[in-house]
Symmetry: C2
Subunit: 359 residues, 2 copies
């Protein structure tokens, strides 16, 4: 089973440094809560969420960007910046799970479900669920504020800060606007592959790969040629990553993905995979897709019918072809990139792992 970044030079060391940094930061927040006589559960939820797993993909990609632009030796402030990206990602996931009312994440109950259960006692189920959602929105808010705090306490030079902050601002806008488009178009299946890919581009491709690479590179003053070479690599990798995510969301094994395999279908997310199926579907298949995808009452049987259509129409095959094509584009971009060989090798592995992962 390929795990993204597992083969990066020092990938485990990076993960461990980032985890330590996050843990120390949250330990400080635990002390703050004690000082304010506030409940421990908000920061405890985040600690548990971060400890439950996650590939630390954005931190690893950020470090790769730093290496590609010539960063070497002691990781120094790149770890703090990478930790800020991971905290930002926790914010995204906690809020996404509230919006989708997802039940599980990283193989455990989602934050809002856990908090609903924690506060159920003496309340109606509806009231507890409402409270769980509200409390989880606040946990996410804290994670967003803390990602910013991690960055501004990262001990960057003011030159580094000036290089990194505009990229962080753009990244946040892109991912939130992408999520906005995703949320407001959910339940309305589209055959418009370009529109589905636009959501993908902002919500995932730039956010997961391009921006973390640029942010890492900005720490060592990368010239525009390096940033452009990183983009030429990043966008196909990011799209391949999301296309794989779409396929895993419909066909993945819940025991390895850590989330239900039909929630994406039930939520009716506009994915490129679904758009490809709608383009190829006959009248009967089309009607099944339009009525079943996004149906809140969708069950395993319904999900199976959708999956059969995704396969029968050739949409799954077409999505796999798109992934292969993007993987090749990324490898080709690396052939011409002005990166040190170790960085190029690491990025080749990220591209392969993003395209073929199972989690």
């Amino acid at each position: 089973m390929a795990t993204v970044g597992a083969e990066l030079p020092d990938a485990d060391a990076v993960r461990s440094r980032v985890n330590c940094w996050l843990d120390g930061f949250l330990e400080g927040k635990a002390q703050t809560a004690v000082g304010l006589r506030m409940p421990a559960e908000a920061h405890q939820c985040l600690r548990d969420f971060l400890a439950a797993g996650g590939k630390r993909l954005r931190p690893l990609v950020c470090v790769s960007g730093w290496q590609a632009a010539g960063g070497r030796g002691e990781l120094g402030p790149v770890v703090a910046v990478a930790a800020a990206l991971e905290m930002f990602h926790a914010f995204c996931l906690v809020h996404d799970d509230v919006m989708d009312d997802s039940a599980t994440r990283r193989g455990a109950p989602t934050v809002h479900r856990r908090l609903a259960r924690h506060h159920h006692d003496g309340r109606s189920t509806a009231a507890a669920r409402r409270l769980g959602a509200s409390a989880a929105v606040l946990v996410g808010d804290l994670a967003l504020a803390w990602s910013d705090e991690l960055l501004s306490t990262a001990d960057l030079t003011s030159h580094q800060l000036q290089a990194v902050l505009p990229l962080i601002h753009v990244m946040r806008d892109e991912v939130m606007y992408g999520q906005y488009l995703d949320v407001t178009s959910a339940g309305r299946p589209t055959a418009d592959v370009e529109k589905a890919l636009r959501i993908v581009r902002y919500k995932t491709a730039k956010y997961t790969i391009e921006r973390p690479l640029h942010i890492g590179a900005a720490l060592v003053d990368a010239p525009p040629t390096v940033l452009d070479a990183l983009s030429a690599y990043a966008l196909p990798v990011g799209e391949a990553f999301q296309l794989r995510d779409d396929i895993l969301g419909a066909f993945g094994d819940p025991t390895t993905t850590g989330k239900s395999s039909w929630e994406d279908l039930r939520d009716g997310k506009q994915t490129a995979l679904m758009a490809l199926a709608l383009q190829r579907a006959d009248a009967v298949q089309r009607r099944v897709l339009l009525t079943r995808v996004g149906d809140p009452a969708l069950d395993e049987d319904g999900a199976t019918r959708i999956r059969d259509i995704l396969t029968a129409t050739g949409a799954l095959r077409a999505a796999e072809d798109m992934i292969s094509h993007r993987r090749e584009q990324a490898q080709h971009a690396l052939d011409h990139a002005p990166f040190p060989p170790t960085a190029t090798a690491a990025l080749r592995q990220v591209a392969d792992a993003a395209a073929v992962r199972t989690t």
Copy 2:
């Protein structure tokens, strides 16, 4: 009708400068959305929300803190910092309204209700409401990210930034933890006035008065004696502000407060006013309070019964006494404060207006 800060020297000028700054910033974000081919509604919601009113209390208090610590002449970066505080406040209100499912704010539909209506077409009411809540969470997320962006693009010296950022971080933790405690204890009326006041202290007193004063003062390198004098003034004013808010939440005129007069009662918020009533209630009154406060089906008749008990038990009188006492404490603190006379005069007016306002 007293409006907080209306009599501050240059209060209107401060409001106008802050409004201009926010407007210019959001105009830039409108351009960003066009560039990303993203829907205009997210930033448009925030623009409309900010344009719909609001007292700009935190910006005014921030400028007062700056003046109290010796700031004078051109407002300069204090305007950008004040604008960041107002954007942060927009974040708080948008998310609070989702959590409370409030219908109106500033006399208009709340952001989540507006977005639910906007996206209703072709969706069930339940799906549209869910979508409205999700989209409003994202609008709030953008406001939080943008408050931070406003601050980091405020053209502060690195010395000013180092003085201000830790205060911003503490303020955010306090208000989010306070809101967390508020949300997780809602629907459980308490006779514990101290606990109700602790929520008040973090959610409002420090957030609305003390921290904005400190942040303004930090811009001109205020010594600890000035910060302490500001705190001695701020905490009673902030508590008076919140106690007045509790009373307005139960007894206020919806046409001046801009929000329903029984939502607070229906949501069962733990307020000092309610704690005072529970302490003084006889068995029958107590039973009414415990069953009606926090009842999702509460109507105007039920609200009237609660209001009658708040009056009959003397809780309303006691809360008014607490407000008067805090107003005197604040005035007394100002008698001994080392502030320039114009700043002292402005802060006296803020204290009076916070205690007697009707909106």
